[in-house]
């Protein structure tokens, strides 16, 4: 029998998760100590969090029940008591099925719209129709529904309305501004640059403030414009300036050859942009666009400074109630969870969108 070298079995800990842990977490004595220390701290933190959030939490009852276990457990009874105010603000209590239905319809529509096979011009038209229906549903005055004035709108529907309309209308405006900034006509270029730089130079909070505090003073006697509308226009104008620069980034990434090719085909300016340049440019800038969308979504919570109760503002107002004042943290956690769901949906969807359209352009 030939004396063949036998291949040794790998040591039992060379593969698998244990081996990975040994290689990365316990490779030296001080790393081992650090790992154990970190694990201990994580365990402590988790235990405290679980105890606070679940084990010792007060799920139902009154403010007094919560006060009894103050500092030991979360007071989810706050959410049980106040969730309708946080979600719908000062919208009349008996009519709150309307904003609830509106949110439901919106979520279903948004879900369906992610399905590429439904993408068409009809989809855009049906979104406009849907927004009209939702606005009617909230406003009432038809089909026997009572009129609910816009000052009473609040909570999640307000946040969604401000951000969806804000995003939806600011994008076309942004495209026009971006094209304007790259235009060869000096006047249009100057107007676009002036607008973008002016708006980017001031914080959103001051735009909202001017829209709500100063603007009415300039109006002729006897004319007032709805506060919600003023805030909405402010958000659109603000977000458009930022999006315009994002779109311009995309436009600059298109090589000159594309423009020349489109010219050679005899396309006019608008058709050149619509058919050749913009589809490519917008595709490049999906990540920063979605970034801006998410920022806009979260920025809408600034409308509290002009006295509109968006989701965050409503939560803050709800915990102003003396009975529940000690439990603001719980209110914030509830709102944070809702914001997280919406924002993470947007970012996940944008990743899918990039994969779907993201064949790299070859030079």
């Amino acid at each position: 029998m030939a004396d063949r070298p036998t291949q040794a079995e790998p040591p039992p800990l060379a593969r698998g998760p244990l081996a990975w842990a040994r290689r990365h977490l316990f490779n030296t004595w001080y790393n081992a100590i650090l790992t154990l220390g970190a694990l201990y701290l994580i365990a402590l933190g988790l235990k405290a969090a679980i105890n606070w959030m679940i084990v010792n939490a007060v799920w139902t009852g009154s403010g007094a029940d919560c006060h009894a276990s103050m500092g030991e457990g979360a007071c989810w009874a706050l959410i049980a008591e106040k969730h309708r105010f946080i979600l719908f603000g000062t919208y009349p209590y008996e009519e709150q099925w309307r904003p609830a239905l509106a949110i439901g319809l919106f979520v279903v529509a948004a879900g369906l719209s992610t399905w590429r096979r439904l993408w068409s011009r009809a989809l855009i038209a049906s979104w406009f129709a849907l927004l009209m229906v939702l606005a009617l549903l909230l406003h009432g005055g038809v089909l026997g529904m009572s009129v609910v004035r816009t000052e009473l709108w609040g909570g999640l529907p307000l946040t969604i309305l401000l951000s969806v309309v804000g995003i939806g209308l600011s994008l076309p405006l942004a495209i026009l501004l971006a094209l304007g900034r790259r235009s060869s006509m000096p006047l249009i270029r100057a107007v676009s640059v002036g607008y973008i730089e002016l708006v980017r130079g001031v914080p959103l909070i001051s735009i909202l403030f001017m829209a709500s505090v100063m603007f009415p003073l300039f109006l002729p006697e006897g004319l007032t414009i709805d506060k919600l509308l003023r805030a909405q226009v402010g958000i659109i104008l603000f977000s458009a300036a930022y999006l315009a620069e994002v779109v311009r980034g995309g436009l600059q990434a298109i090589p000159a050859g594309q423009y020349e090719a489109a010219d050679a085909l005899g396309l006019g300016y608008w058709r050149k942009m619509r058919l050749v340049i913009l589809p490519q440019a917008l595709k490049f800038v999906i990540p920063p666009l979605v970034n801006s969308f998410i920022a806009t979504f979260k920025d809408t919570s600034l409308v509290i400074i002009i006295g509109l109760y968006d989701l965050l503002g409503a939560a803050r107002t709800a915990t102003n109630d003396p009975v529940w004042r000690a439990f603001t943290t719980e209110g914030y956690i509830f709102v944070a969870a809702i914001f997280f769901v919406f924002c993470s949906f947007m970012s996940r969807y944008s990743r899918r969108l990039e994969r779907g359209t993201g064949e790299r352009r070859s030079p």
């Binding site: 103050m70 008591e81 106040k82 309708r84 105010f85 719908f88 603000g89 000062t90 919208y91 009349p92 209590y93 004035r149 816009t150 000052e151 009473l152 609040g154 026009l176 304007g180 249009i188 403030f209 709500s212 505090v213 100063m214 009415p216 003073l217 109006l219 006697e221 006897g222 004319l223 007032t224 414009i225 709805d226 506060k227 509308l229 226009v233 509290i304 400074i305 002009i306 006295g307 109760y309 503002g313 803050r316 107002t317 709800a318 102003n320 109630d321 003396p322 009975v323 529940w324 004042r325 000690a326 603001t328």
Partner: protein
Amino acid sequence: MRTFTIGIIAGLVAMMAIFGSARAGTTLDTVRAHDMLTCGVNTGLAGFAQPDSKGVWTGLDVDTCKAVAAALLGSPDKTKFVPLNAQQRFPALQSGEIDLLTRNTTWTLPRDSSAGFNFAPVTYYDGQGFMAKKALNLKSAKELSGATICVQQGTTTELNLADYFRANKLELKPLVFVELAEAEQAFFADRCDAYTTDASGLASTRAAKAGSPDDYMILPERISKEPLAPVVRHGDDAFFDIVKWVVYALIEAEERGITQANVDEMKASQDPNIMRLLGTTPGMGEALGLDPEWAVRAIKAVGNYGEIFARNVGAGSPLKLERGLNALWTNGGLMYAMPIR
């Protein structure tokens, strides 16, 4: 681009037509034409204006507005509340967005004159005070020399504190916080000996955030004057008169023992003061341009001043504020209605 701009302008104009509402003539005409009284209130201040769990506005300021609506328009439900922050409140009143400002607003000279507003009678006398642990055995704020005091930064509260300590030659050791909530937390964590803000705020903080509220006391001194009153625009005398006398009527009702519950029986009273107030002897309502039942409706809607106080900030509320300066003049307070005759 130009068509686009024109489109935007056309759209805005159309929106104005839809959402805008015309305000012509006096506030009184507008309120009557809309059959609705629009009041500016705080965005959320417990006891004064705060939406409850069902989104219904409650509070002392809210009740003042409802009383005016009941007297003027016949129903406390003909009210619309616009939440406003401190900076927005005056422009909102100035521009006609609201008819009446009932937003815990301090009556000061510039506001009452050059700013173009008129103040109706005070509905709540507030003032800055101190809260300290009972265990410290303090009798007066003058014993606070050298004590650490938690205070919010950049407010008149901070300035008043410095003024008071300088005037009384006390040694000031402030511990300053950007957020009110932080200052409160620091106080209850024993990082300072006393905490200062408006007295109504002290009481609500104690009720809401103290582990055991009985361990803390509010010192008797009030180091600033904060008379909170409803505000109307200059040049609206008829409306101003109505607001003013509705507030007086509520105070007078408490003095005469007329409550939300007994107002109808009181109409049978033979006391000439009550008969004038409730319109059994006509003349008063007519003088204001209202009907004789104006005060009856206001009292029925929200109760007399004492009831409003108890329900929102006093014994019947979580704030449990004492009447103090807000007691009737007959009980040593400042609430004094001008004669209704």
